[in-house]
């Protein structure tokens, strides 16, 4: 398959396991009464929106697959197993069964190398897929009937400098876009990250007790709103410039590069991103946001 591929949607698709827990899918052992409806219903709006488009792969950049030596991609055609969140094992013990688009993974790998990045295919069949990948994919498309590509979050460059990390993700985003186009895929891209990311360090006795759920710090909230305001205005170049400060001052999970990668792959949307929801999970700020590249085309035609 060559040429004519495209990114049909990009989404900020955060991965708190609480959201899967509260959905009560049959795959998850833990059961909830309710919880985090604002975000879950935001995901529902995202799903409804995506249902109107045809896509054949989900590409997720996952902060919970942490690597240091380059960017890794799943390179085994299928995985089946039990994912237990090491931080919230009481909430997330998910039996997964998923397919991987290895051809596309390899194409991203090769394009990344061409960009000068260190890339690595993960080919160990015993590998356990990280819960961030599973959570974001499940909430976006719970049917699990399209294959996925999962890209690890390289920690090394962001550790030394947010700006250096940004440059890496700029290249990785370009590589992803080129690979999608070259392989003819219709892809949905998922940046699996929260916005502000300072947690509470105690959990309510009932995890889904929403009377205990609020943003950890007002400063985080202000930063989250600043970021969402730029997204809603289509000012993602400005957002790119401000991301290093956001990462530092809001202890943002964008430090893992997912949002930067997505903005680069979408070629910096200058059209509004649709904020389907904003809410907090154990104090962290999370938003479900959708970008529809067809919108740019429509605006240009108009």
């Amino acid at each position: 398959m060559t040429g004519q591929g495209k990114i049909v949607a990009g989404a900020l698709a955060p991965h708190p396991p609480h959201l899967v827990y509260a959905e009560n899918p049959p795959q998850n052992e833990a059961k909830a009464e309710c919880g985090w409806e604002e975000l879950r219903w935001g995901y529902e709006r995202l799903r409804n929106s995506l249902a109107e488009r045809e896509f054949d792969v989900l590409i997720v950049h996952s902060p919970h697959w942490k690597t240091v030596i380059g960017h890794h991609l799943l390179g085994v055609p299928s995985f089946e197993g039990l994912s237990v969140d090491p931080v919230f094992p009481n909430l997330f013990r998910f039996h997964y069964d998923l397919k991987v688009d290895v051809e596309l993974s390899e194409a991203i790998h090769d394009e990344g190398r061409a960009e000068g990045l260190t890339m690595n295919m993960m080919k160990n069949p015993d590998f356990r897929v990280d819960y961030g990948t599973i959570t974001s994919c499940h909430l976006t498309h719970p049917q699990w009937d399209v294959p996925i590509v999962s890209i690890s979050a390289n920690q090394g460059f962001f550790y030394y400098s947010n700006d250096v990390g940004q440059e890496q993700m700029l290249a990785l985003g370009r590589a992803t876009k080129k690979a999608v186009e070259a392989t003819g895929r219709k892809a949905v891209l998922l940046a699996s990250c929260s916005l502000s990311h300072r947690h509470f360090t105690e959990e309510p006795v009932i995890p889904e007790d929403m009377s205990q759920e609020y943003v950890q710090h007002h400063g985080q909230y202000l930063w989250d709103m600043r970021v969402l305001d730029l997204i809603r205005r289509g000012q993602t170049r400005q957002l790119w410039d401000e991301l290093p400060d956001f990462i530092e001052q809001a202890i943002s999970e964008c430090k893992d590069g997912s949002l930067s990668w997505l903005l680069s792959a979408l070629d910096f949307p200058d059209y509004p991103g649709q904020v389907h929801a904003y809410g907090t999970v154990i104090g962290t700020g999370n938003a479900v946001v959708e970008w529809n590249p067809a919108q740019r085309l429509k605006e240009k035609q108009a």
């Binding site: 690597t67 947690h199 105690e202 006795v205």
Partner: protein
Amino acid sequence: MSSSNHPVVKGLVVPGKPHPLLAPEKSPAWASLRQGFESLRQEIESCDADLLLLYSTQWISVIGHQIQADPEPEWVLVDQEWHQLGTMPYRFRMDADFAEAYRQSAAQRGLHARTVAYRGFPIDTGTVVALQCLNPDNRLPACVVSCNMYADRAETLVLGKAAADALQACGKKAIAVAVTSFSNRYHMEPIDPAEDRISSLKDDEWNRKYLDILSQGRLEDVSQLAREFSRQANGDQKMKAIWWLAALMGQHNRYEGKLVDYQPIWGTGAALVSLTPAVKAAGTLEYDEDDTEFYHGDRHVLASSGSSAAATLRSAESTETVATEAAPPTQPNPAGGQTVRTEAAPKPVGAYPHARKVGDLLFLSGVGPRQAGTDAIPGGPVRDEEGRPLDYDVAAQTRAVIDNVRTILEAAGSSLDKVLDVTVFLIDMDRDFETFNQVYREAFQDVGATRTTLAIRALPTPIAVEFKVLASAG
């Protein structure tokens, strides 16, 4: 506590990256580390220990600290980064009873802690490497505690002390294992493993300096140097594992240290160190960072009201153990019974608890009138800072003493009406006895406690009256 009866018979520091376990043949450095692990395994075999107690910097937690309590965790681990090195199937023997004791002792010191026992729980690479290299036949049961990403030095010290409490309470001897790198700066690109080296000369120099101190047995010194080391050499998780180990092992320098090996693993500093309690210290303590016994940090970010009622409605079928309520301020004492400490009473002026409970009896340390938190003396001090006598109100001081006695008794689960015997110390019998006696009568006339009143030349703080109390425990 003397070295001989401390519950930790040996301390180890080991690296947690999988290279020595999975690929020693690829690099002389990794092979050397594998041999070092084997040397430590033999040391462990020669020790009289009941369990291995691990702290791994690769088991990151957010909600307080987690303690592994699955008695036989079994899974197949592939490292997220080093998946090409191979697969690590594991089956371990964990001491679930000790894990629960550790949780309880952590809660008693103000920490948020919970045990985890879920099928398929992802035990971290550091733990798997350490246990498979040090204890491959599961000869000793193990207990593993997580590294909280937000924990600071104070919280980690208290976590270490809580481990010692739990060992004492259970009457167990342990080998403590800190699973950590030293400098943690990787080569960012693929390398030839055979030519692995520390990624930065500066890191290498700091590693050698730090390990030189540690190999002298100066564990408390390296604990107090940890912040500086981390700043200079990108220490693994701020060297929290060293804080934990030092606090658990007694916060001193009286160890025989042995640097078994120091090598690079993909640019990071990996060392194997053993510390055996010794009679003499290599040197006096070189640093003086604050110490703490109880964790007072901001962990109570959730409203305390409301949750309990909701929790009552929750089905009782939950199987996890979560420490959420304040525990009584008592902790096991190695010599028997339990010591009692409470923030509601004035801080002791020496190395003693507020009280100690043994059997049905509660022994209180001397109690004066100082106020908790401020150390203010109701009725005024008896002398100024230069030792000149001041006028003071002994009635106010006596009432404050009785209030403090009541506070400590109640913290220990007892009460004023359970007092059995009181010894009273007055610095001026002629001046103060009558007034003191009147106030005492108001509080104790119906209690029926025996009493002895003594004149004494001075008390440690500028106060006029102090009580020594023996009470029924409740």
